[in-house]
Amino acid sequence: MTNTLICIFSTIGALSILFASIGIVRMPDFYLRLSVTVKAATLGVGLLLACAAFFFPDVSVTTRAMAIVFFLILTAPVAAHMIGRTAYHSGTPTWEGTLLDELDEDYKKQRAGMLEDANKEAAAAAEVRRSKEDDSE
């Protein structure tokens, strides 16, 4: 009974990991690759860890497996979001079939705002330097 359950779960887990790696090879675009791999690989590893929890009749192993799954589910989206944000900011090109980029407008405004802020800061710093020079004289 346990063996059958372990067989089914480990097969689904290994197959979803295989699909994730086929996706990272075949997808045309960084963002599509990211969205394919993170979810499928987390599911596959989670199922393999569930197999380990079934296999060892021990509370400590079950706790450890659950801790690893919890940690993966908590951290994988955060890491994917960070690296996707970095890729967008550093200008990674999207696929030629991309129809809509909703972030473009927002970031254009934000970049313009940041430019204004930077100019203001530079002007303020120059002002401070000038007043210091006046004081020293």
Binding site: S21, V25, R33, A41, T42, L48, C51, L72, T86, A87
Partner: protein, 88 residues
């Protein structure tokens, strides 16, 4: 068919083929970020491999190594993202 044979002939070959496919993307990847996610995926598959091996060899201790590897994968990806953000 025993569970050991099933793991030897089905699960490990599937995971090995996955790692080889991801290595292709790691070497080819046109951008640095592609390589970063390929590395992250390799470490995630490594966690799965260690788990399968701990079932195969009936040694529950290997799961500790998987836990440490999960921590290091997260830290590595965050560090790469931070560094690439600062670089430009």
């Amino acid at each position: 068919m025993t569970l050991d044979l099933y793991f030897d002939y089905v699960i490990f070959p599937l995971l090995t083929v996955s790692v080889i496919l991801v290595f292709y993307r790691l070497f080819k990847g046109p951008e640095v970020v592609d390589r970063v996610i390929a590395l992250d995926l390799i470490i995630t598959i490594g966690i799965g491999f260690i788990t399968a091996y701990s079932i195969r060899s009936e040694q529950a201790l290997f799961l500790d190594v998987a836990m440490i590897l999960a921590l290091i994968a997260f830290l590595g990806t965050i560090a790469f993202a931070f560094y690439l953000d600062k670089k430009k």
